[in-house]
C-alpha cells in the first residue's frame, strides 16, 4: 500500500543562483539568494514561508537561512540524508508537510561551494568524524576513496553483465553536453565535444574518464512547495507533485553496497519508481521528459532501467537510438545536467524538471510535456518525483 499524497502539494516557485567555480561568497549567501529567487518567481515574500527542507550535508542551517531571508515563524523544518540521494527527498518531506497541514509553504534548498570549498573528488579522508567513519574505513586503506572509484566499480561489473559499452556512456555525456552548449547558465555553455575529444580525456577511475564525471560547482538552487489552493493564486502556473517516493533497500551502504550477492543494480531506485508510479497512477509511457541524476554518465543508464523505460541491459540501445535527444522518446537533462550545467546536488535538476512542465526550458522539447520525472543520486538511498501540470 502506497501512501497517497498525489497532487496534494504543488511547486510554485524555482530559483538558481549563478553557477561558477569560485563564488567568492559564503554558502549561506548562495542559499539565501536561491531561496529569494524562488520566492520572487512565485510572487511570495519570506513572511509566507513556514517550512524548510535541505540536505543533512548542507552547511546553511534552516534558522540561519530564515533569519537572513526574514522568515518569521517556521512550523516545520527537516533534513534529508545521503548526499545526492536527498535531492528529491526534499520534495518528499515538503510534500508530506504540506499535505498534512504541518506547513503551508515550504522552501527546499541546497547551496554549496563545491569547487572553491570542500571538493568531493578529494575523497573521504581519515579526519571524518561522523558516525559512518567506520564504514569508510573498509575502503580507505585500499585507496577506494572517491565517488568516481565507487561508481567505477559498479559500472565495470554492470557493463560486464549487460554488454553495454562506452558508446552508451559517450551518448549520455554527449547528449547532455549538447544541451548545455545551448544553455547560457551552464558552465559548458557554447562548448561541445566530439568522440575523439571524449576518448582523449584522462582516465579518472576505470572505466570512467573525465567527461563521464560531473563537475564540481559553486551555486545554490531552491524550490518552493505549497498547497494546491494557494498555488492557484500565484504568478506561475503550478507544477503538481503527482508522485514522490524514496527507498533504502536491503544491505544498503552509502555508495559502496558491494556486499550484496549481486551489486550491479539499484534495487532502492526500482522500489522508489514503483511507489511513485503507483501513487501518481502514471506509468513510464506517460513520462514525456526527465531530469535524471547524473553525477556520472553510467548512472543515468541504470536509472532508465529502474524507471522501466527499458529492461535490464537495454539502456545502451535505448540511448544510442537517440532517446535522450530533443526529438527523442525521452529528452533527458535538457539543462545540461550536472555533467555540464552545474553540480548543485540534483536540486538544479528539480528546477529544470519544473521548467519542462511549465514549458520554459531553454531546450524545451517540441512536444507537450505533461509529465516529467526527476531523480536523486544513486548508489545511496534514493528516490524520485513525478511532476505534472496542476489541474
Amino acid at each position: 500500500m502506497v501512501a497517497n499524497i498525489k497532487d496534494k502539494a504543488v511547486i510554485c516557485g524555482i530559483g538558481n543562483t549563478e553557477f561558477s567555480k569560485n563564488s567568492g561568497v559564503s554558502e549561506l549567501n548562495l542559499a539565501v539568494r536561491a531561496c529569494k529567487a524562488a520566492l520572487d518567481d512565485a510572487g511570495l515574500s519570506p513572511a509566507d514561508v513556514d517550512g524548510m527542507v535541505t540536505f543533512t550535508m548542507d552547511t546553511s542551517d534552516e534558522i540561519e537561512v530564515a533569519r537572513a531571508l526574514g522568515v518569521g515563524e517556521m512550523t516545520f523544518y527537516g533534513r534529508a540524508h545521503y548526499g545526492g540521494g536527498a535531492a528529491t527527498a526534499t520534495l518528499h518531506q515538503a510534500a508530506m508537510a504540506v499535505a498534512t497541514g504541518m506547513a503551508e509553504t515550504v522552501l527546499c534548498y541546497r547551496a554549496l561551494n563545491g569547487r572553491s570549498g570542500h571538493r568531493f573528488s578529494s575523497g573521504v579522508s581519515g579526519t571524518i568524524t561522523t558516525a559512518d567513519a567506520i564504514h569508510w574505513g573498509w575502503y580507505t586503506p585500499y585507496g577506494l576513496l572517491t565517488p568516481a572509484s565507487w561508481v567505477g566499480m559498479f559500472t565495470q561489473r554492470w557493463m560486464h553483465l549487460t554488454g553495454v559499452t562506452k558508446d552508451a556512456l559517450y551518448e549520455v555525456a554527449k547528449a547532455t553536453r549538447d544541451y548545455a552548449a545551448n544553455n547560457p547558465a551552464a558552465f559548458f555553455h557554447g562548448q561541445t565535444f566530439d568522440r575523439a575529444e571524449y576518448d582523449a580525456q584522462r582516465m579518472i577511475s576505470t572505466p570512467l574518464q573525465l567527461f563521464d564525471c560531473c563537475q564540481e560547482s559553486d551555486g545554490g538552487s531552491a524550490v518552493l512547495v505549497t498547497t494546491p489552493e494557494r498555488a492557484r493564486d500565484l504568478r506561475q502556473s503550478g507544477v503538481a507533485i503527482r508522485g514522490v517516493a524514496q527507498c533504502a533497500a536491503r544491505d544498503q551502504e552509502q555508495m559502496t553496497s558491494f556486499y550484496r550477492q549481486e551489486f550491479a543494480g539499484i534495487p532502492e531506485m526500482e522500489r522508489a519508481a514503483r511507489d511513485a508510479y503507483a501513487m501518481s497512477g502514471l506509468g513510464p509511457e506517460d513520462i514525456d521528459a526527465a531530469v535524471i541524476y547524473d553525477a556520472f554518465s553510467s548512472i543515468v543508464l541504470w536509472q532508465l532501467e529502474a524507471w522501466d523505460f527499458c529492461g535490464f541491459g537495454e539502456s545502451g540501445d535505448f540511448v544510442q537510438d537517440g532517446a535522450l535527444r530533443p526529438g527523442g522518446r525521452l529528452p533527458v537533462n535538457t539543462h545540461g545536467g550536472q555533467l555540464s550545467e552545474a553540480y548543485i546536488h540534483g536540486v538544479n535538476g528539480i528546477v529544470e524538471a519544473v521548467r519542462l512542465v511549465r514549458g520554459t526550458s531553454v531546450n524545451q522539447p517540441a512536444k507537450t510535456v505533461e509529465h516529467a520525472l526527476v531523480t536523486s543520486g544513486v548508489g545511496i538511498p534514493t528516490g524520485g518525483a513525478l511532476l505534472g501540470k496542476q489541474d
Binding site: K21, G117, S122, G126, G152, Q156, I204, S205, F263
Partner: protein, 329 residues
C-alpha cells in the same frame, strides 16, 4: 583551531583560488648570451645548443636557444627583493593569512614545468601568475597544513605560450607550535613516508583489524544460525542474535569487479592502484587491492588468491593476486 574557527579560516583561504599574483609582465632583459651562460654554468649543463653559437648555427635549429628549464629565471626579481622585501600581491597576502593562523611552516614540495615553444636571443619572456588551487586540510608528516599551487605562464613577445610552471607549497603548523598549543612535548621533526589512511577502529570492527595486523582475514559468524557476515556488525540480520564468533578465510575467491584509480593521486598509495570486490569461497564479499597484474590482465570472473601483506610502515592489508589456474568458467 576548533571546527568553527577552521571553517571561518577556510572561507577566507579558498577565496584566494583563482586570484592573480601578477598580470602579464615583460622580463627586464631580453634573452641574452650572458645570462644563459651563467645559468648553464651554475647547473652544469654543457649542451652546445645553449652556449656555442657556431655549433648552434649548424644545428637543425640554426640558432642558439634559451634552456627551457631556465624560463622562470628571466622574470626573477633579483637583489632589490632581498634588500627591500617583496611588493604585496595575492601570494604574499595568502602567506600572511597562513602565518596569522599559525601555519608558519613552509616547504616547497614540487615544481612541474611544461614546455611548448623554444625561444632565442633577443626575444622577451613575459610572466603571468595565478594561485591555481588550495588543497583541503591535510595531516602531513610535517604537521597539519594546506598545499597551495601557483601556476606561472610564460609567453614570448607575440603572446605565444613558451611554457608553464606549477609550484606547490605546503604551509603547515610546525610541530613545536602544535605541541606548545597542546601543552605537550615537542615531537621530532622528521619527514616520513606517507602511509595509507587507516580505518578508524571501534567496538564493532577493531577485532577484525587487529586480526589483520596479525596476518589473518576473519569473517564474522552468527553463533546462533551460523550466517557469515562482512563487514562486521553487532547483530545478525537473519536471526537478530548478538552472539558471534569468526572463522578465518582461505582468501580464495572470484573477482566480481575492479577499478583502477588514476586520479586524484593520493600520497601513500602505490601505482598502479587497483581495487576489487572479491567473492570469497566462504560466500561473503570483500573489498581489497588487486596486485601482481596489470589491469588489462584482469577479468571479471577470474580466480584470485589473497595474502595479508605489509603494504607500508604501518599497514597490514589483504592483497589479491590472480590465481595460478587463471580464469574460472
Amino acid at each position: 583551531m576548533n571546527d568553527e574557527q577552521q571553517q571561518a579560516f577556510e572561507q577566507c583561504l579558498y577565496r584566494f583560488v583563482g586570484r592573480q599574483v601578477c598580470a602579464r609582465t615583460a622580463a627586464k632583459d631580453a634573452v641574452n648570451e650572458a645570462m644563459i651562460r651563467h645559468w648553464a654554468e651554475t647547473v652544469g649543463d654543457a649542451n652546445p645548443a645553449y652556449t656555442d653559437a657556431q655549433w648552434a648555427a649548424r644545428s637543425a635549429r640554426g640558432r642558439i636557444i634559451a634552456p627551457p628549464a631556465m624560463m622562470y629565471s628571466w622574470n626573477q626579481e633579483g637583489f632589490p627583493v632581498v634588500a627591500q622585501g617583496r611588493a604585496p600581491d595575492a601570494q604574499t597576502e595568502l602567506v600572511d593569512l597562513f602565518n596569522e593562523n599559525g601555519f608558519t611552516g613552509v616547504l616547497g614540495t614540487n615544481v612541474k614545468q611544461e614546455y611548448y615553444k623554444e625561444i632565442g636571443l633577443g626575444e622577451r619572456v613575459h610572466l603571468e601568475m595565478v594561485i591555481d588551487n588550495i588543497s583541503e586540510q591535510k595531516a602531513t608528516a610535517r604537521g597539519i597544513g594546506y598545499f597551495f599551487e601557483t601556476l606561472a605562464s610564460f609567453s614570448d613577445q607575440h603572446g605565444d605560450l613558451i611554457g608553464t610552471q606549477r609550484f606547490r607549497v605546503l604551509k603547515f603548523i610546525p610541530p613545536e607550535t602544535a605541541a606548545a598549543a597542546d601543552g605537550g612535548g615537542a615531537e621530532q621533526d622528521t619527514l616520513q613516508t606517507p602511509t595509507r589512511i587507516a580505518a578508524p577502529r571501534g567496538h564493532d570492527n577493531s577485532w577484525w583489524w587487529e586480526a589483520c595486523d596479525q596476518g589473518q582475514v576473519l569473517i564474522q559468524r552468527c553463533r546462533n544460525c551460523q550466517t557469515l557476515r562482512h563487514p562486521p556488525r553487532p547483530m545478525c540480520g537473519e536471526c537478530q542474535s548478538l552472539d558471534w564468533d569468526s572463522i578465518e578465510s582461505c582468501l580464495e575467491g572470484e573477482l566480481l569487479s575492479f577499478t583502477e584509480l588514476h586520479h586524484p593521486r593520493i600520497p601513500g598509495y602505490p601505482l598502479p592502484l587497483i581495487c576489487g570486490v572479491i567473492r570469497l569461497r566462504e560466500g561473503v564479499n570483500l573489498v581489497a587491492n588487486i596486485v601482481g597484474a596489470e589491469e588489462q590482465a584482469l577479468a571479471i570472473g577470474m580466480r584470485v588468491q589473497g595474502k595479508v601483506e605489509q603494504v607500508d610502515e604501518k599497514t597490514m592489508l589483504p592483497q589479491f593476486y590472480p590465481a595460478e589456474n587463471g580464469v574460472e568458467k
